[in-house]
Symmetry: D2
Subunit: 292 residues, 4 copies
Amino acid sequence: MKMGFIGLGSMGSEMARNLIKAGHELTVYNRTRSRAEPFAALGARIADRPSEAARDVDAVITMLADDRAVEAVVFGADGIMDSLKEGNAHICMSTISVALSRRLKEAHRERRQHYVAAPVFGRPEAAAAAKLFIVAAGPSQQVQQCQPLFDAMGQRTFNAGEDAPAAHVIKITGNFLISTVIESLAESFALVRKSGVDPNLFLEIMTNSLFTAPVYKTYGALVAAQKFEKVGFKLPLGLKDNRLVMAAAEDAAVPMPMASLIRDRFITAIAQGLSEADWSAISSVSFREAGL
Amino acid sequence: MKMGFIGLGSMGSEMARNLIKAGHELTVYNRTRSRAEPFAALGARIADRPSEAARDVDAVITMLADDRAVEAVVFGADGIMDSLKEGNAHICMSTISVALSRRLKEAHRERRQHYVAAPVFGRPEAAAAAKLFIVAAGPSQQVQQCQPLFDAMGQRTFNAGEDAPAAHVIKITGNFLISTVIESLAESFALVRKSGVDPNLFLEIMTNSLFTAPVYKTYGALVAAQKFEKVGFKLPLGLKDNRLVMAAAEDAAVPMPMASLIRDRFITAIAQGLSEADWSAISSVSFREAGL
Amino acid sequence: MKMGFIGLGSMGSEMARNLIKAGHELTVYNRTRSRAEPFAALGARIADRPSEAARDVDAVITMLADDRAVEAVVFGADGIMDSLKEGNAHICMSTISVALSRRLKEAHRERRQHYVAAPVFGRPEAAAAAKLFIVAAGPSQQVQQCQPLFDAMGQRTFNAGEDAPAAHVIKITGNFLISTVIESLAESFALVRKSGVDPNLFLEIMTNSLFTAPVYKTYGALVAAQKFEKVGFKLPLGLKDNRLVMAAAEDAAVPMPMASLIRDRFITAIAQGLSEADWSAISSVSFREAGL
Amino acid sequence: MKMGFIGLGSMGSEMARNLIKAGHELTVYNRTRSRAEPFAALGARIADRPSEAARDVDAVITMLADDRAVEAVVFGADGIMDSLKEGNAHICMSTISVALSRRLKEAHRERRQHYVAAPVFGRPEAAAAAKLFIVAAGPSQQVQQCQPLFDAMGQRTFNAGEDAPAAHVIKITGNFLISTVIESLAESFALVRKSGVDPNLFLEIMTNSLFTAPVYKTYGALVAAQKFEKVGFKLPLGLKDNRLVMAAAEDAAVPMPMASLIRDRFITAIAQGLSEADWSAISSVSFREAGL
């Protein structure tokens, strides 16, 4: 397919690379142009502004850091809103607020464009290995047409129905679940360690019995080692995602005390100078509080 | 082996049955004798008091509901403390406090008896199917000798080292982890439901991507359905286990805010009349608070 | 003094009335003009747009519901920004975010206008009785010149220094303190009631010993009676103020777990249909959870 | 009156001294006898065991550190249970659990002795100055007879009805309220300080407007100064009182999330080496978390 691709950060650049590898024809745009340039050698066209990346393509993908970035690229001057043709689709793979996802759905509908929400689970390594999990929602025909794209980037796509924002609800709630795993392991490890048990032993037993999920293995290893320099997902981005779930919960009038607790962990971690660390560093708060 | 087995509740009776099936010779004791009687037909000897179940056996297993029950059976009148021979082992498979586990270790040591802690993960169905996960700790020779017993009752045994109470640390911390899964799913489902997404869809996506662990599948299904009449583990027992982790954490000076939050869920659930429900019913608090 | 007064809600209308009573000459503005009209009979001039209320006056007071309202009136079309003369003051008595207060300080400085922050403590009855507590901060000369105005509206003015936004920091933190009183009384009353003690007896003992402060008497009576129809301060406004303190705390990297807990109370109360009640109705969450 | 007085700690010794000063005839008992000896010079008789302090007196007062101490002195060997005459009263002024207070009521009733619960609010300075607040409950005739005693020790007595344990419900709930004040001030001061406002200025404004209660002044000064060496009430005793309120709340099925939060603060403070500090040192947790 002829695709626009906007946002070449640590996730987006891997995803774009996999699309090219699978034979798709890309026009790429990145605010900082230097990150886009290597893609010329791979055969991609480099756009000077977002609108160009959405012109003369079958669809345009956005993979950006937050609401503000998506708003700028969609609704801003030279945004994709005006250049995207009627009947073409904007595939939003960024993790954005449910509120913005709803607004995008509405805005595209008014212009007879299509809107597919397709946020992803997975860290940069998974993106590089085309092992992302993709949650897609939107008009079923469009979602179906996107399947070859998703196959090029992920290991599995889940269909979340016709209402695009549902995919973002699922994504941010899923991220909340991950954050609860980090916090629960942090508290557990602090307890076992101060009770004379090696956290790695505890983790090994858990991940070979009831907690066999990848998320416990990946984060368990990070939390047990208390090493957070290698950054898969920066701590302030974790706070951003926490903000998204708390905003959605407030809009829907759903109290989420675990999300509140984790928010306080993020803020404490930032107060203690961990803004550059991986988000699993919120676990260090439990360790410090326990005097470890 | 010639074994004593004390405690024939919903877990213990299945475990004892599996030991007999595997060819071990049992003397069983249960406070309410009627629960012991069916075992006569299976070839077990029925003891009239705990001490009898620990006499003339290679080792004695206790599988009881709480600290109080274990204390009564071990230290009480006609307890096993006096009848168990020097060099023989008490295998404590109950979920008890770390403090009591430490006290048992000391008391048995003084009488030159052995103490093996071997608590289990799994609900009654898993006990019946000999699919328990067993965490064993204690003197390595004794733990090794117990392996055929564990093989008859569980699908896998984890060795947690020479210090018996470590097994109980791991067990109660593991139960804490399970409780965090229930609460995190409860909050998640309340949010997705009020945001227009079917909790079952959310659960299916999660358990087929990052959260493939049995614990998410088992409890996810219960929480999504909000059906708690079929009781695998009664709610007040969940509060008891929460108490165990909070006591261990207080002793070790480890703050565990998630455990505190979950304690409040248990108490709320009890205040709202859910004492007879499965412990996953603490999830109904999130649903009620959200107005669902 | 010749004063502009913008915002004639339940607080502002009482405050404006007291200024007129004290002999000040007012030009009033309210978005919904009908609320302004009664002031003509009191001798006030009625402005058609915010800018008019800031023209040909010594200073202009804004007493509005939230950030959005203040931004509209200050920075919007026909806002006060352009009509206020150099050297004249904007006295912001609304409870707004620290961030907006900082922005106002900067914006007025650039135009050589003065900015005084003077938020108030007190419910509408206190405003009517000129019994407000006023926390004023800003350039000392301007704050001093405002004193006769403050004396007409309040029982006491506190000087919070030269940095105007400090007054808003104090105001929103003070509101947080009040919210903690409501929640702590709610939990206390639920406990004493279920333990067989009359909450009113408990309250009487507390407010005649260690807790002699008005805030315990006022809110204690409301919480004990669980009557929230008479609305001094609407529940969603309480959530708004909670949002202000949580935003300030996030900006300053200060975790505030009590504020988080109270946020969840507000959201629960809204989910349970209490949006029209007084904000002390968050106490009903504790009562419901306890099964009362 | 002829009185027994058991428990001459930092509170009890001041209270006993005030009783002697008021002309009452005392027989005193303290486990560590050296603390009792100075009372001989004041004319008191020194008992060698608790039972002696309850013999040949009109009533006996106990003022001890915790449940265990009261149980030992009442039910233990040489306890007061056997020596106290029918019709005489045990006046329990210690802060004990509601459960123990209920048990004492029952036990004394069975022996036709009277039981008056009369716990106190106030730190050692208040005890020395006879400025305690006393909450008394029990049979009205006995409570009335105790009035001269209470007048000698306190500035005011509150009557909490005929059911003695109600006084302990009120006392431990009152202590919970105090702990919420410490925590709310800690969070507030951390916020204002990191926002550039002097906590003392904030405190002065609060305690001169809505928060005029002594408890805000006393603890506000301690928390603002972050000086905890002068110990009025030791931190682990604060945790003990928190345990009492949480136990009462669990028994009554009342979730108290603020009490849970404060429990975690105590445990964190202990993990960070503050066991010898005044209980207001739990406020340092908020300061540390905020990076102050």
